[in-house]
């Protein structure tokens, strides 16, 4: 679906005429859908891309986001001959070779580690070209552009976006719609399960996270009684 179709549907859901919305602006609807798509992608890692990385002799640290602007997580790295570079941690690389940051002997990089959002470490440090497969973030949806997540899951973006729009109304309107979040998270969980299976088949190094999803009905009940707790402690009724 295009951004225009999604925003029209969303505005109809919240009782607006898409051609002459009065309470919600089209831009607000589009921003809510964009946020929904970004969260869906984070939950599922359903968008992938590849980028070549040029490794240089003597350099052990690289910032992947300078090569791929929408980089999220490294899924796999392969050498030019197709051989997989083995994933490690910094601790494992140090345990295998305390001088790993200054090892240039070898025929090809054989281990990599990731730290933070996009910092990659390779050993040994050899001039080589490798290909990184990574989970990427979605391109910002515009009215003329199309949503990037699988088409069968695109309606669930409206579920999230509807609640997101209701946040500024609160009260009964929010309470009536908050159950839609459950549909959004269930759709994301289903998609993540598919991506997880496929990622195992592809021997990817990172899988979509398994999460403990919140019970929003409980959150609202609690909010009626006490001020919301903004820390990670569960709200008690």
């Amino acid at each position: 679906m295009t951004g225009q179709e999604l925003t029209d549907r969303l505005l109809k859901r919240v009782g607006e005429n898409p051609s002459t919305p009065r309470f919600f602006r089209q831009a607000d609807a589009l921003a809510a859908i964009n946020e929904a798509q970004q969260l869906f992608v984070l939950l599922t890692l359903c968008l992938e891309a590849e980028t070549p990385l040029a490794l240089s002799s003597g350099v052990f640290e690289y910032d992947a986001s300078s090569t791929a602007a929408n980089w999220l997580v490294c899924l796999a790295i392969r050498r030019a001959d197709g051989v997989k570079v083995q994933p490690s941690t910094l601790g494992e690389m140090a345990a295998l070779n305390p001088l790993w940051q200054a090892t240039t002997a070898g025929s090809a990089p054989n281990r990599y580690a990731v730290a933070g959002f996009s910092t990659l470490y390779f050993t040994p440090q050899i001039t080589a070209s490798v290909t990184a497969t990574y989970a990427r973030g979605p391109v910002a949806l515009t009215l003329g552009g199309s949503a990037e997540i699988p088409e069968e899951y695109q309606p669930c973006l409206l579920d999230y976006a509807q609640v997101r729009l209701r946040l500024h109304q609160g009260a009964q309107l929010l309470a009536a719609d908050v159950a839609l979040l459950r549909q959004f998270f269930e759709a994301a969980t289903k998609c993540a399960a598919y991506v997880r299976t496929r990622s195992l088949d592809m021997r990817y190094d990172v899988l979509p996270p398994e999460l403990k999803l919140p019970d929003f009905s409980r959150v609202l009940k609690a909010a009626k009684k006490v001020a919301p707790m903004l820390d990670s402690k569960p709200l008690s009724e």
Partner: protein, 206 residues
Amino acid sequence: MPCNVESLLTSSIYPALNATASTDLVFWTKATLYEWAHEAVQRLARAAAGLIFTDTRAIVTGTADYPLPARTLSVLHVTAADRTIRAANARDLEARSSTWRAAEGVVISHYIRQDQGLTSIKIYPKPATGLSGAVRATVHLLPPVVSEAAAIVAWPEVLGGYIALRTIAAARTAETEAKMPEAAAVAAEIGLVYEQIAAKLWGGVQ
């Protein structure tokens, strides 16, 4: 692509606060929203080790203490003269030698984190004459202060929703006539989902 808090304010935060621009805000100010956005950034930075920096300092003969970069939250990895050195504590080193603080050597083997590991490390043994190279500390950083003058957060753009939701939650929790505990609770709860994801994808820390 990094998060731009100024764009988030316009696209995602003002609309949830019944405003289209900072001039429409009735119960809050733009500066206050930036403070809450900064608190959100700090909170997620403590939930996931996202920002990584490798600091390099030349080895100085006889000097055991090397400063860590400002805003260090934790130390991930340290090398001295390209050799990985192990984290230790004073008790470990005292067990090795009661004079460990004065010991000198050309093979550095351990480091300890001083001042809770936030401002400097002490390497053991002290570099002796003849040892050259650098002490490299790979650390996890707290992002710099988010403000109108520094609105870019070096995070994946997909985490913008977290900043927006936490800012909205804080605004709707503040004691004003626009307080909405239910909206704040839902926004904060979705924020917790982001925190779980971030910790699982990029590594939990403190």
